[in-house]
Each structure stands twice: as structure tokens, then as C-alpha cells.
Amino acid sequence: MSKQDPVVHFEMPSKDNKRVSDFYSGVFGWKMNQLGAEMGDYLLAQTTETDDKNMVQTPGAINGGFFKYQDKAGFNVPHLVINVDNLEESMKKVEEAGGKIIGGASGPGKIDDIPGIGRYISFEDSEGNHVGMLQPAPRA
């Protein structure tokens, strides 16, 4: 069997970051961290402890975040993020297996290069579900 690519992060759309931040911190005690405009106003959601390199400490749990809702593919529904070793290779595998590449914030079919995070693209699976893939940036 080939190597398994794990699910490492979740993302959900938000129309109002303050409202959604209050919801998840109020109900589940998640630590919410609002990033700046240079990171697209992304709202980080910490559901479990991390170390100083942002690595999750406890097996079986992941963190996530909220992105600004937009009325287009890749930005209108929640998705998971799958960690892959080689983004181009996985994009090929997705298409061979019957999926479709959507793209990133930089445009249809385009890979996003997120500073300090890695290279990201979203795709549609065989059922029409939207999913993200990330080839993480090398850790310093």
C-alpha cells in the first residue's frame, strides 16, 4: 500500500468572524486567534494544545480555522486539509482517481503559496465534496 496522507486541519467559512469566534469559544472553549489582512483575515481555531512550533501535542485531535465566505467553489463550504509530501504529484493522483482540481485564492487551478505555512490547493472529490491539500513549508 502507498503511504497514507493524513487529515491535519479543518476549515469552515464564516460571514462574521466575531460572531463565529464567540460561538466556538463560548460553546467549546476553543482559543480563537484573528490574523491580519496579510493572511487574508484568517481566524485560527485552536481546539487542542500546540508546542512553540505550532505542532499538536495530543494524538487524535486537530486544529483548524475559518476563512471569509465567498460565493464560489473552494470558499463556500467547510473542508478538511490533507497533508501531502508533493503537491503536484497528489494533484495528478486526484485527477487520475476521478477528482477535479479547483484552485486556491490566487485563482482557478492555481496553487497558493502561504508564507510560513506551505503550498495549498483545493479540489473536488468523486462525490463533489470540496477538500484542501497542503504541502507544508519546511520547518526551520
Binding site: D5, T58, G60
Partner: protein
């Protein structure tokens, strides 16, 4: 493991097609459960002892409404969590049914897994609460 995202679920119109897609594209391991579990497929995306990843499942839904994944959040007390979700402006669904069509209300008790409750946040995103059964906690 309280209040963390511990599991994900993929809705599929054709679960066998989805099973093939994810094992081909990402090498995920699939375990088909019996009809007493509604034909649910357990998905392993990596070694559960390694922090930073989660496993999930695939279920079939002929009248597929979501083109997204949903997160499963583990809680200590599901009744308290239901009340908290409602008071924070979220929705709790009460349309659970047994495979033979019996109405179950808000809570669905899955043998060996726990009590499962479908919800929606303030942004319209679906997620699930799970109060794990004592059997499940012992396995960990």
C-alpha cells in the same frame, strides 16, 4: 479529549466510489462496517498514536445535501453541549432516524461509539457532537 475535533465525516452518494477515490488518491485505509452500522466505512488516514492527524468515516446519503465534510467534536456531557449550542445561536437537528425509519430526536446512541448529535453553527456550517461511550474510552 474534551471539546476537540477528533473525527471527520464524508458524505457520499456512492460510498464505494468514494472509498476507491480516497484510497487511490491518498492511500487511506478503509474498513467497511456491517449493515447494523448503516454500512458506515471507517477511514484511517494515519497512525493514531502520531499527534497532528485524525481519522474519519464515509457514509452514504442518496439525497446528498452537503458538498462538504463535517467535523466531529468530542464532548464530556452531550446534554450540556446541546444547551450551549442552542444558547450560543447554533441549531440542533432532531431528524435522526433508525435504519427502519423510527424517529430518534436530537440524540442518536451508537453502540460502542457514543451519543451523536448533528448541529449547525452561526454561519450555517454543519458539525457533530459526540459523547464517547465508556467502551470507546477504554480502547484508547
Amino acid at each position: 479529549m474534551s471539546n476537540r475535533v477528533v473525527h471527520f465525516e464524508i458524505e457520499a452518494k456512492d460510498k464505494d466510489r468514494a472509498k476507491k477515490f480516497y484510497s487511490d488518491a491518498f492511500g487511506w485505509k478503509m474498513d467497511q462496517a456491517g449493515e447494523d452500522f448503516g454500512g458506515y466505512i471507517s477511514v484511517t488516514t494515519g497512525d493514531i498514536k502520531v499527534p497532528g492527524g485524525i481519522n474519519g468515516g464515509i457514509y452514504q446519503e442518496e439525497e446528498k445535501k452537503l458538498n462538504a465534510f463535517s467535523c466531529v467534536i468530542s464532548v464530556d456531557n452531550v446534554d450540556k453541549a446541546i444547551a450551549d449550542v442552542k444558547s450560543a445561536g447554533g441549531k440542533v437537528f432532531d431528524d435522526n432516524k433508525t435504519p427502519d425509519g423510527k424517529q430518534l430526536g436530537e440524540k442518536m446512541d451508537i453502540p460502542g461509539i457514543g451519543i451523536y448529535v448533528k448541529c449547525e453553527d452561526t454561519e450555517g456550517n454543519r458539525f457533530t457532537l459526540l459523547q464517547p461511550s465508556p467502551d470507546m474510552m477504554q480502547q484508547k
